[in-house]
Symmetry: C2
Subunit: 397 residues, 2 copies
């Protein structure tokens, strides 16, 4: 089997043959629409870089990537190119995933029992980080205004008690797809300064932003905010490289870097394979044209999902995401039978979403849909949902 890199959309048969998590978690009669990776082949320059390594060089001894081939240099290039952000390469730390980055940043920069502020509903590893590290959950729900999701700054101020030491931030926000404005970020940054919070900012979805919106790394707002900010990012989400396990922790100051290193020596973190590094480097220098094409497709899919819901499943509350390829669908008003909408759709529609309850109790009536797939798969997912909803009243009896 040979799959060409362009066009990047894959047939259902090719997708079903994949060995990754997305197409293997659920039985074959279920259409998966969950985990956040894309059903597309990757960018040609990335594929070429890793084929060069694997097919031509076949060099698997201890890696060495210096100069512009190094991960810190590629990260510096990308941040400058996208945000005009001049980073210090000495403050870049390689880890194998953004969730790992979240865990180690939280453990390295706070103490057990410290409060960690998050905006719920939230990507489940945020909750796991707090729970498994013995920190204390400080919850600041996003507000559904009826026309979108709003950051509740006053609520954040009220929630952040004296024992709150960390803001575990997510921008673009997963699962709501909010891309925060400069004004919102400034308010968040100011509060962090006022309350002396460390900001751990997961910006792994930063590459996935739709028309009319703009990603702003919170560390770029001011030197004062940067000095207390750890930025987590990777090429893995935008360029679809999750399995290659390569992410970056960027410390906004030497002081933060040193404080972290004293608790968790670098060797604790492990490191990425040369495959992950070469792929990330290729993505950050040469991946943007591909990403621009993918974003057009994703934006069209986003709009398609929104329109379909409006037309065929108007009982679902849904605000089209400003970024990410995830739609957060509140099914509360549908009054579906069964344990949760997740279970309903899995059993009755044979569609496998992410379960809303995993994103915190606020999410229990929601599911997260991944629309980074072919129109063929998307039509099947949405069609099955609509059919099941239509059958729901009969099922509930």
């Amino acid at each position: 089997m040979t799959i060409t890199t362009e066009p990047f959309e894959m047939s259902l048969a090719a997708l079903r043959a994949r060995r990754g998590n997305k197409w293997n978690r659920y039985p074959a009669d279920v259409m998966p629409a969950w985990v956040a990776d894309m059903d597309f082949t990757i960018a040609e320059p990335i594929q070429r870089a890793i084929e060069k390594l694997i097919v031509e060089e076949r060099d698997y001894g201890y890696g060495y990537r210096a100069g512009e081939n190094s991960l810190p240099a590629a990260f510096a290039h990308r941040m400058n190119d996208r945000y005009g952000w001049a980073i210090d390469q000495d403050l870049v730390l390689n880890v194998t995933g953004t969730v790992q980055g979240m865990f180690v940043s939280t453990m390295g920069l706070s103490e057990p029992g410290d409060g960690v502020l998050i905006q719920t509903p939230i990507y489940p590893p945020f909750l796991m980080t707090i729970e498994k590290s013995g920190r204390r959950l400080v919850e600041n729900p996003l507000r559904d205004t009826g026309s979108g999701w709003e950051l509740d700054i006053e609520g954040m101020r009220a929630a952040a008690d004296a024992g709150t030491k960390v803001l575990l931030f997510c921008n673009p926000h997963n699962p709501t797809g909010r891309v925060y404005t400069r004004e919102e970020l400034q308010a968040v940054g100011d509060l962090a300064v006022e309350r002396d919070l460390v900001i751990i900012s997961d910006e792994v979805h930063a590459d996935l932003i739709y028309s009319g919106h703009k990603h702003i790394p919170i560390a770029t707002l001011s030197p004062e905010i940067a000095a207390r900010t750890v930025t987590l990012t990777a090429a893995s989400k935008g360029f679809n490289l999750a399995a290659l396990r390569c992410s970056v922790i960027y410390f906004g100051s030497q002081a933060l870097r040193e404080r972290f290193r004293r608790v968790l020596p670098d060797y604790v973190l492990g490191s990425s394979s040369v495959v992950g590094i070469d792929a990330t480097v290729a993505a950050w220098y040469h991946g943007q044209p591909w990403l621009d094409e993918v974003l057009k497709k994703l934006e069209a899919n986003r709009d398609y999902v929104a329109q379909f819901i409006k037309d065929q499943m108007p009982g679902i509350r849904h605000h089209p995401p400003q970024g990410t390829y995830l739609s957060w669908l509140n099914c509360e008003d549908l009054g579906l039978p069964g344990e949760s909408p997740y279970h309903f759709f899995l059993e009755e529609a044979k569609v496998g979403f992410n379960q809303g309850g995993d994103f915190g109790p606020l999410g229990k009536n929601s599911v997260r849909l991944n629309f980074a797939t072919s129109r063929e798969v998307l039509d099947e997912v949405l069609g099955r949902m609509a059919d099941a909803i239509e059958r729901a009243p009969a099922l509930a009896r």
Copy 2:
């Protein structure tokens, strides 16, 4: 450039063109004989497995490797196949390197200030683990009997004070190449039980054992010893896959596993790429015929080095290793000029070894030579050494 996988010996020109650490750390006029990877291409089944992934499947979404394709299953197969050791797959933890495994095991299973017992001279990350984690070095030097390296069990007993909690063990021992006998291991295990030590056993060189010797995982000695032992291993050393970053921590009991998890949640450790996992799985099921061939070559190189030293550099004290492809060369009697033998050979012979002093103060007059290379490179390394030694008296004036 295409490099065939067989024969596995590479030309000097091909080696010089490599992008890894070994051939790039030193200037081009220096012949490298340092970091522990091999100047050979890898086994065909491993190359095929990763080419399948990269060239055919091109699937980089979140990985999923179940059943016999999973790392725990392949580890179980390998341990059973080589040692008749029945492991529990639930006690296998994936990390990205054996040094990472050493750091996290030490930090997860002891407290700052605890004593950590090691056999010196020792692979530098052992010393770094103790220093950077704030543990206390408890030193138990190996004894040079004149005819080989001996584990000093009585010295170990004397060194292990009440505050000593961990034995950070290395078998086969790096840098001396000792492969411990069952009797030695039993004595070590008994002492660990007697003094209630956790054994963290780095066995990453276990695949590299020469005629007349046999690797015995210390955890196989008895259930009582297993219950306190963490075994660190990987396919990376024997199968030359360091850059793919895939290692295993194996906990000898559920209690040890739980104790570790409470201090360091699994997410702290990150995880290997699917490339590293698929390569390791292929190595553990299908790599042994290649390894058998490599071992013949390595054993011949080992003997060649020993004979050359005996004939041409008799002032070097050297015990041919029983395992590993590393020769530990004590140059004290040569009375070389300069800061250390490492600096002497680097500057005067243009040969880049590992510096003995990095293996602890006991190693300051030694260098570590890596003989996993072509005869062409080895001849150059040894020839340059002998020439420089011949010129040393003139240089010292």
